[in-house]
Amino acid sequence: MCTVCGCGDAKVEGAKVEGHIHPHSHDHDHGHDHSHDHGHSHDHDHSHPHDHDHGHIHYGQGIAGVHVPGLSQSRIVQIEQDILGHNNDFAGRNRAWLARHGVFALNLVSSPGSGKTTLLCRTAEALKAKFPLAVIEGDQQTSFDADRIRATGIPALQVNTGKGCHLDAHMVESAIERLAPADDSVLFIENVGNLVCPAAFDLGEAYKVAILSVTEGEDKPLKYPDMFHAAGMMILNKIDLLPYCDFDVERCIAFARRVNPDIVVLKLSARSGEGFDEWLAWIAEGRRRAAAARVKVG
């Protein structure tokens, strides 16, 4: 385990002991295994074309703009690499795998306690007879959420991030390998409850869905703008509690549109089922399109 951040604690449920997943690769004992496995050929699929053009060594571009042989061994290397490039490489591979298999993947993000798991359980009950579903559950510890999902009869895999505050694309790749979602299925990825960090990490999903419950503040889209900017959809959950809360729905939607003019908004209650039909219809349409695209590719 890494003594710096403890990230070696992260594990994917069902992994063998030696297959302990180290989502961050700074674990000193295993070096860069995954970098070498796949080389850099996947760079082509992603939006980092500059990877190919750089890496030149430029002498004479040092701090003083000169290079005098013998005076200093220092040199400047221009690399222009995206810090998230490695994560984005994995995300691109996940996206390609999902497209090949016609899987419609959603990354559910929210604060803890917004009702993500209850939403998923009700969704699973409503859709499981119509098409295959699978769930990846991200939490720091415990498999409580995956247990709740499995109780509905659909496959779920728990990923514990240890001290990590978000799922990254490498963890999701490992989880997809083990879970092996069926062709033309819907894959829900329930991220760690956190409105900050998961915004930065693409997992390969079709959409991020941000869930905000009306028992939270209507100003959250402005307080945590990165997440609402990254999300394609905002679900206002627990609307059955609106009569008991001072939550201004229209104001909340206006705030969300301010950080993301294109965000789709759904209002529902995962407990009472109010507004749920629209959510289910949206998922079914997304799955239909993903499946149709797979047929076209195939």
Binding site: G62, V77, I79, I83, H166, F201, P225, D226
Partner: protein, 114 residues
């Protein structure tokens, strides 16, 4: 605290580059961090200090952060404007339909190595 993950990403890139370009020590790293990115530079510096100590490649390396200001295209008044955050409205017309053009960068620009 995802700055820790991002910092580890930086060190991974340094290790890869060291193998490619044949250097053994990094003295300075210039990072471009946009004002609208999800990174707090101070937090990144703190994390880097902790992570860099673990390897002879990065021990003692200096992190230089270059802030890239946020700019956006306002769809209402069709102009390029400077924004300090994602929740800013257009400083010219007060509109909210802003498409960010710069300020989301998170990348390693160059390295001083030996």
């Amino acid at each position: 605290m995802h700055e820790m993950s991002l910092t580890e990403g930086v060190v991974r890139i340094l290790e890869d580059q060291a193998a490619t370009h044949g250097f053994t020590r990094v003295k300075t790293i210039w990072l471009e961090i946009g004002e609208l990115s999800t990174v707090v530079p101070e937090s990144m510096e703190f994390c880097f200090g902790a992570v860099a100590k673990g390897s002879p490649l990065t021990e003692g390396a200096r992190l230089e952060i270059i802030r890239i200001p946020g700019t956006a295209w306002c769809m209402d008044c069709s102009g390029s404007v400077v924004v300090a955050s994602r929740i800013d409205l257009c400083p010219q017309c007060g509109g909210a339909k802003l498409a960010v053009t710069t300020g989301e960068e998170m990348r390693i620009k160059e390295l001083e190595v030996e």
